[in-house]
Symmetry: C2
Subunit: 357 residues, 2 copies
């Protein structure tokens, strides 16, 4: 019989509840209970038949708990993680792992010191939209991808809780930016040389309620990552340019298309009337030389694989998929983005410092 892994969830808000739902579906896991400082959330947990720990110390003292899953506001992650590892628990932590790279370095030190596992829930590595873009990239389906754009647009502002406050690690760069950067760094497996970022403060002066982030990689490839919370019309979730085609994914329903350039021979463009002028350059192709696929490739992705990889790693049967050095690199890049916005400059990142002879 397979062993099971027992988890206590600290912070029973939206994400805490979401984790419990997933974990209850996986045989290899058992939820020991939850801890939350809010009586309303304690009541909710009891209604769902979950054990409620009275204090965080009770969680740590519970010998059957193998893993503490942290789903609190961001400013609490580090302290809870460190205490949990020192108490002999493994840790699954919501993203962003920490408030800054210094805190993440401290966690990595404690992980080494205690021999426990600390892993961040970069769940959006399992998003089908991202995996389809990565597949197009990896399989060179549109030639060499040299530019990718990912936009996440909403119009409701930042949800009205701690995510609006700086002291709790609020703002969209830490909330969504941490996913978008994480994924593009995995896809373009090379150094980032330049970072240019501008924050929006449409209705929130304290934290960014959106951002636009341009990364320039060592090979010259570029990524544009954007989050907006006052966009009443959404631009496509993904837009990708390769040397032999383009791809678009409109939204999470996976509507989109791929256009592949089959031959470099093209009919001579006839100038078209466009607005008040003529244009030959922007004359459409009428599909000469290109093939249009209005169905995207499909990828089966299951977020359960994240949890199972954690267990397999603890059991010594696998390597961890979400690596802490990757998380630390993303955190450093986000700090560079913050510097770019503050200074209104392009800021170097991972640039080889070479002395010219």
């Amino acid at each position: 019989m397979e062993s099971t892994c027992t988890i206590a969830v600290v912070g029973f808000g939206g994400m805490g509840g979401h984790h419990v739902e997933h974990l209850e579906e996986i045989d290899a896991f058992e939820v020991a209970g939850i801890y939350d400082i809010r009586p309303s959330q304690e009541d909710l947990a009891r209604e769902k038949g979950l054990h409620v720990y009275t204090t965080f110390e009770d969680v740590l003292a519970d010998k059957k708990v193998d893993i503490v899953l942290i789903a609190t506001p961001n400013h609490l992650h580090k302290e809870i993680a460190v205490k949990s590892m020192r108490a002999g628990k493994h840790v699954i932590c919501e993203k962003p792992a920490t408030m800054n790279s210094e805190e993440m370095e401290e966690i990595i030190d404690v992980e080494k010191e205690t021999g426990q596992l600390f892993v961040v829930n970069q769940n959006r590595r399992w998003d089908e939209d991202y995996l389809v873009v990565k597949k197009l990239h990896d399989e060179r389906a549109i030639g060499d991808v040299f530019h990718v754009e990912c936009r996440v647009h909403g119009s409701r502002g930042i949800p009205g809780d701690w995510r609006q406050k700086k002291q709790f690690g609020g703002g969209m760069l830490l909330d969504w930016g941490v996913h978008l950067v994480d994924r593009v760094l995995l896809m373009f497996d090379e150094k980032v040389e330049d970072v240019y970022c501008t924050f929006s403060h449409v209705r929130n002066d304290e934290v960014d309620d959106g951002f636009k982030l341009t990364l320039t990689f060592a090979s010259g490839k570029t990524a544009f990552l954007e989050v907006g919370t006052y966009n009443y019309i959404n631009l496509p979730l993904w837009y990708v340019n390769g040397t032999r085609g383009s791809a678009v994914i409109h939204d999470w329903s996976m509507k989109g298309e791929v256009v592949h350039l089959e031959t470099d021979e093209q009919k001579d463009a006839k100038p078209i009337s466009a607005g008040a002028g003529l244009t030959k350059t922007m004359a459409p192709r009428y599909d000469d030389g290109t093939v249009r696929h209005q169905q995207l490739p499909r990828i089966d992705s299951n977020i359960e694989d994240f949890y199972l990889n954690v267990k397999d790693t603890i059991d010594g049967k696998a390597d961890i998929l979400v690596k802490n050095e990757e998380v630390l690199r993303v955190m450093r890049l986000l700090e560079t983005a913050i510097e770019s916005d503050a200074t209104r400059q392009v800021v170097g990142f991972e640039k080889d410092v070479k002395v010219r002879e």
Copy 2:
């Protein structure tokens, strides 16, 4: 009876022919003939029943010619303009007016010296798509517009002639950038503080075959202007964000929509399942609080007004619409964009130099 204005067209390529077609439709103008160094274009002109000048000097010597219209490659504009004005002719010049701001300053000097008119065909100020965006902006139909994006995407590369060469003033920044910048500077009537530009060289190392240009205005408003010639799928022509709504124009056929925020009261968002995760922030609005207009406002625009304004200005009945100081400002901004791409930095523009006390 109204007087007519007689025009000679120098450079009878695509744009030269386009001008002749327009001018022949307007009673107030008469086409005296064309001049082109290419025998093929001379033959074409004769087939169309146009007079063909044998030398440029013949054009200048023709006393009935009031206006020389320049539609040659860009590197020739300045010399032809200066000679024409010195010969007592007014000048209509294709865009970009000149190769750089220095040449434009020289033209402005000669204009003052000779008392002739020099005017640039910034014809895309008459594009209906731009005029609709400007109307939304001016009438505050989506609140205060704080960000505008304009993209012109094609997939045929740069047409295979002088536009691919640096020495002739090729590249997309000079070709299309000069329009996109011109218009956004008219719409946001304020100083530009920062310029960030990256060129693409997908298949052309000599000139930019595309660019991405971010302008930050003194009030914090931003504009993103993009041209691409290897985009096999087009993103919308215009995307506009205001404090109370968004607008999109998909293409020159004027398909698009406007979403206006009617009330700040909104139903509490319910988290939605998106990819491998949940999101409350990006939950759609289900139109609570917003009104969606799937028909854009229409604007009647006629490029004939450009030519008529030139004549009225010559006749002392109007002020010129396309002002040379506007053209010079755009040219300086394009030079700043070139500097930004070359240095991979944000470059200041029109910043007030203030000494902090």
